[in-house]
């Protein structure tokens, strides 16, 4: 027996860890609550690194773009070229400042128009190329953020917070397969559940074939769960076809928010009462 264990110890340990992982995965019903200690540890150690890499990248990519443009036009004069590169770098910094100012102005306008109490935050990391769609923002529990708070942009709903550390928060984007939002079609008030489908789109669930939903209809939050305020735009219906069960329609919705370009968000500070 001992000889068998010694001979196959790698397979046995791997098998046990695989079973443990499977147990974690299949019982992970409450999103974001597992691995709390490790998450806090990672937030403390990795967030500054993430911030640094992101700022170096943004500054560097802008400077490189400007540098390439400058090289093409001022080949003959090295001194002027150097001066121009320096100015281009400065120009890029000012452009970034201007862009940031524009985005913050837009957020501020939305914040002033909205009756909701919100706080703005910047996105420091994205995870959309894999199975999940999440983002990390640069504010956390120290700024009053809590799990299940709604995250918005001036164009529509972004998602909800699933994990909070003192300095950061993880947002479950509404295109994530685990996201489900109580919603309705703005034109006909047909109720549905908006779920992410893993390919950057949202699927409206439980809409019967006899319900009036057409391509082009706007989908908004219904506010029933208390998680998201009522009337926020989720997206626009792009596909309506018969479902496989011949009872419910298969409806695809394009999210209103362009997740590839969004850099700042608003978090609704009043926490929801219920969890999904």
């Amino acid at each position: 027996m001992n000889a068998f264990i010694r001979k196959n110890h790698i397979i046995i340990i791997s098998g046990l860890l695989a079973l443990f992982s499977l147990h974690l995965a299949l019982t992970d019903t409450s999103v974001g609550e597992r691995g709390y200690v490790i998450k806090r540890l990672l937030a403390v150690t990795l967030t500054p690194l993430q911030n640094s890499i992101l700022s170096i990248y943004r500054t560097g990519s802008g400077a490189v773009d400007n540098y390439v443009a400058v090289v093409g036009t001022k080949k003959e004069n090295e001194r002027y070229r150097k001066a121009l590169v320096a100015m281009a770098g400065e120009n890029q910094r000012l452009k970034e400042e201007l862009k940031l100012s524009g985005r913050l102005k837009e957020l501020l306008q939305y914040k002033e128009q909205s009756a909701l109490k919100t706080t703005s935050a910047g996105i420091i990391a994205y995870n959309t190329a894999k199975w999940t769609s999440t983002a990390v923002i640069n504010k956390g529990s120290a700024d009053g953020l809590e799990s299940n708070m709604a995250v918005l942009s001036p164009t529509g709903i972004v998602g909800r917070i699933i994990e909070v550390t003192p300095s950061t928060a993880t947002v479950l984007l509404n295109t994530d397969p685990r996201s489900n939002i109580e919603s309705m079609v703005e034109r006909t008030r047909v109720k549905a559940i908006a779920e992410g489908n893993g390919k950057g789109m949202i699927v409206l669930k439980y809409v019967r074939e006899l319900d009036d939903v057409r391509a082009g209809d706007k989908v908004i939050t219904s506010g029933f769960s208390g998680l998201f305020p009522k009337g926020l735009i989720i997206g626009e219906v792009t596909t309506v076809k018969k479902g496989r069960d011949n009872f419910f329609n298969y409806i695809e919705v394009t999210p209103q928010v362009d997740f590839k370009s969004i850099e700042d968000v608003l978090v609704v500070l009043k926490p929801s009462g219920t969890k999904q």
Binding site: G15, Y57, T132, K260
Partner: protein, 159 residues
């Protein structure tokens, strides 16, 4: 042990760069290639735990279903470990083909877990592109890891 720590640090750095600079660009699954490398070249108890930790870390950092990636990594580890008794992963073509199978295996296992949460889940084209990229880059990445190991390790691993 130093080799494992350096591989683990590379994984963390790769995950951070992936999530901050290239979040929506399909990239090769370097962590899977590292698991393949450890299982093929240096299988040990410590190696198993490092691979498990890498999967767990990926799940935490990407905000995924905790346990899904570590489960797939353990399955990949066992598969490669058993294959090493019959196959040598030295030729680039063998490495690429094996990486293709392993990446597909990882996708299938995570898909199976995710469909238990959302039955209408689609397999995105980005995921499939990532599988192909993993296969294409596996020989290069494994080559780099071998070189790195010879620098880091006090005694370079001899197969």
């Amino acid at each position: 042990m130093r080799d494992y720590i350096s591989l683990f640090l590379i994984s963390i750095l790769y995950l951070i760069i992936e999530s901050t600079i290239m979040p929506s660009v399909p990239l090769p699954d370097v962590l899977l290639i590292i698991v393949f490398y450890i299982a093929a070249k240096k299988p040990s108890t410590a190696g198993v735990f490092v691979c498990f930790a890498m999967g767990y870390l990926e799940d935490i950092l990407i905000g995924g279903v905790i346990g899904s990636t570590s489960f797939s990594f353990m399955a990949v580890f066992v598969a490669v470990y058993l294959l090493t008794k019959r196959l040598h992963f030295n030729a680039p073509a063998v490495r690429a083909l094996t990486a293709l199978c392993l990446a597909s295996m990882k996708v299938f296992l995570i898909y199976a877990i995710m469909t238990s949460i959302n039955s209408d889940l689609w397999l995105s084209s980005v995921t499939l592109v990532q599988v192909v990229l993993t296969a294409v880059f596996a020989p290069f990445v494994m080559n780099l890891l071998e070189r790195l190991e010879s620098h880091v390790s006090t005694h370079a691993f001899e197969r």
